[in-house]
């Protein structure tokens, strides 16, 4: 296997007429947790969706373990071993918690068992028969993460998993990300909250106006604080 798991080169994406990504370049190595940081509307979600095949109009190159995915349908991309936890969480109202959890088909061995997912997120076990969208925001986020841990996908795309959540739940999600990294999963994480990102990530890419403008290793975050504040406008 090559040294990079995900190799994104010159990625362009459009929603209808609007050109959103203008040549995004970055890499993710196996076992890494890498974040995409950037202001609102920078194109982080669009990058995630483009990797997953959820943006119809995209060009450039996205290689996963050496396989070019830019022309593939999203279900084919999923079978290569990528899974997404979308920004809006995407919990299904007409499915209960267990059905939501079991929905994504297992595409490869190596995923977590339901028991292991329940161990990470005990709430999901307690609320197994509740309607998916009756859960609290935090529980829905756990469900959205939990269901892609089952599938055996090796690269997980987590789009702002901590958005709008209480600090204890943010901590729980942080522990989860570190735990799945331990298990050998690779994570591409979109975060607004770089203080949180710093507790889980190996490297950070800064996205602005549809391009990657910088890369900062987590170890060098402190030295680059001023620059980062500048980029993110915080």
């Amino acid at each position: 296997m090559s040294d990079t798991m995900l190799e994104v080169r010159g990625l362009n994406a459009w929603y209808g007429e609007s050109h959103i990504l203008h040549g995004v370049d970055f890499d993710v190595k196996p076992g890494e947790v890498v974040t995409l940081l950037g202001r609102n509307g920078a194109g982080k979600t669009t990058t995630m969706k483009s990797i997953m095949g959820l943006v119809g109009n995209r060009t450039g190159s996205v290689k996963f373990n050496g396989t070019e995915t830019i022309g593939l349908r999203s279900d084919r991309i999923a079978h290569l071993g990528i899974a997404i936890c979308p920004e809006e969480r995407g919990i299904f109202a007409s499915l209960n918690v267990t059905e939501n959890l079991m929905l994504p088909p297992v595409i490869a061995p190596g995923g977590l068992s339901v028991a292991e997912i329940h161990e990470l997120f005990p709430n999901l076990k307690e609320r197994a028969t509740s309607q998916g969208t009756k859960l609290s925001g935090g529980e829905q986020q756990m469900l959205a993460i939990g269901r892609i841990l089952r599938t055996g996908a090796k690269l997980l795309l987590l789009d702002e998993p901590t958005e709008g959540l209480a600090p204890v739940i943010v901590q729980q999600i942080g522990r989860t990300i570190r735990a799945i990294k331990e298990r050998g999963f690779t994570v591409l994480l979109v975060e607004q909250n770089f203080r949180f990102a710093a507790t889980v990530a190996d490297r950070h890419y800064v996205v602005d106006h549809g391009v990657v403008i910088d890369m900062i290793p987590n170890a060098e975050l402190e030295q680059n604080m001023d620059k980062l504040h500048d980029y993110l406008g915080v």
Partner: protein, 293 residues
């Protein structure tokens, strides 16, 4: 006696109304499933129901294949035709307005009816009741033709089974999820285009099945679909577009209501469904079982 009416003929008429209700339920169920996932109002549904009846007639007369095998074969043939239709034509319309799907399927309905009219004539042919279901069955309050009793019971069982599959199985959960957000379900690795094709085939197969069951009740003729489909669309509107359980209950309920009207005020039995539709549209536009958008 109640309010000067003898109850037992009323009850008998209502139960007979359930025979129509059984077909309404089977047809509106298929329409609801198709509309839910494909967002297409399948105007060809009536014609495909007619095709089910015609296919079972052809199977009998050219191949000597009787009712019971036809009950399986005709829905499969109609379903396969549906799969072909979806793969070659309907799937080009998903990105367009609802109206295009409606126009296309309406056109398909006209073509099918034309072909059948040319081949078996417009007056139709008869299909006799299978041996085992001839005669009548005593129900206590009435004597009912055994075949009609079979239609009500079989269709009820099929409807409930379909509903259970949708509500209680993994494939049903996948279908419900895809109805809500097909793109996300596909990104989990589900082959949604194939799911859509098979769903259309299954919904249309249900219409074919209804057609086989209808063959011995009504004459097999090119108009049998358009006769029933207008009422079925009213059923779908009353029940609530896309609601599965709603379409089953409303189908049987409206058959009952029609039967009841027939015995109390026969002149109104042809319009009662549409009067109810107007009332429902005015008071609950999303339908009795539908969720307001």
């Amino acid at each position: 006696m109640l309010f000067g009416y003898n109850l037992s003929p009323i009850l008998a008429q209502s139960v007979l109304g359930m025979v129509n209700g059984a077909f309404y339920a089977l047809l509106s169920l298929g329409l609801a499933i198709i509309f839910g996932l494909l967002n297409i109002i399948n105007f060809a549904h009536g014609a495909l129901y007619m095709l089910g009846a015609v296919v079972s007639y052809l199977l009998l007369h050219f191949l000597g294949i009787g009712y019971w095998p036809a009950l399986v074969l005709a829905p499969l043939i109609v379903g396969a035709f549906g799969v072909l239709l979806e793969r070659t034509m309907i799937n080009r319309l998903y990105k367009l307005d609802h109206l295009y799907g409606l126009l296309l399927t309406f056109g398909v309905a006209l073509i099918l009816e034309g072909i059948v009219r040319n081949s078996i004539g417009s007056s139709g042919v008869t299909y006799s009741v299978p041996e085992a279901l001839r005669g009548a069955t005593r129900l206590g309050f009435m004597i009912m033709p055994t075949y009609r009793l079979w239609v009500v019971v079989a269709s009820f069982v099929i409807c409930i089974t379909t509903w259970l599959i949708l509500e209680k199985t993994p494939i049903g959960a996948t279908l419900r999820a895809a109805t809500e957000n097909a793109a996300l379900v596909q990104s989990f690795g589900v082959n949604v285009p194939r799911l859509i094709t098979l769903t259309y085939g299954a919904g249309v197969g249900l219409a074919g099945l209804a057609g086989v069951m209808a063959a011995p009740v009504y004459s097999v003729n090119p108009n049998m679909g358009s006769d029933v489909i207008i009422v079925v669309f009213a059923v779908v509107v009353i029940g609530g577009m896309g609601s599965i359980l709603g379409s089953i209950l409303t189908g049987f309920g409206l058959g009952l209501l029609e039967g009841l009207t027939k015995s109390i005020y026969p002149e109104a039995s042809g319009v009662v469904v549409f009067v109810l539709m107007i009332v429902v549209l005015l008071t609950r536009p999303a339908g009795l079982f539908g969720k307001a958008a």
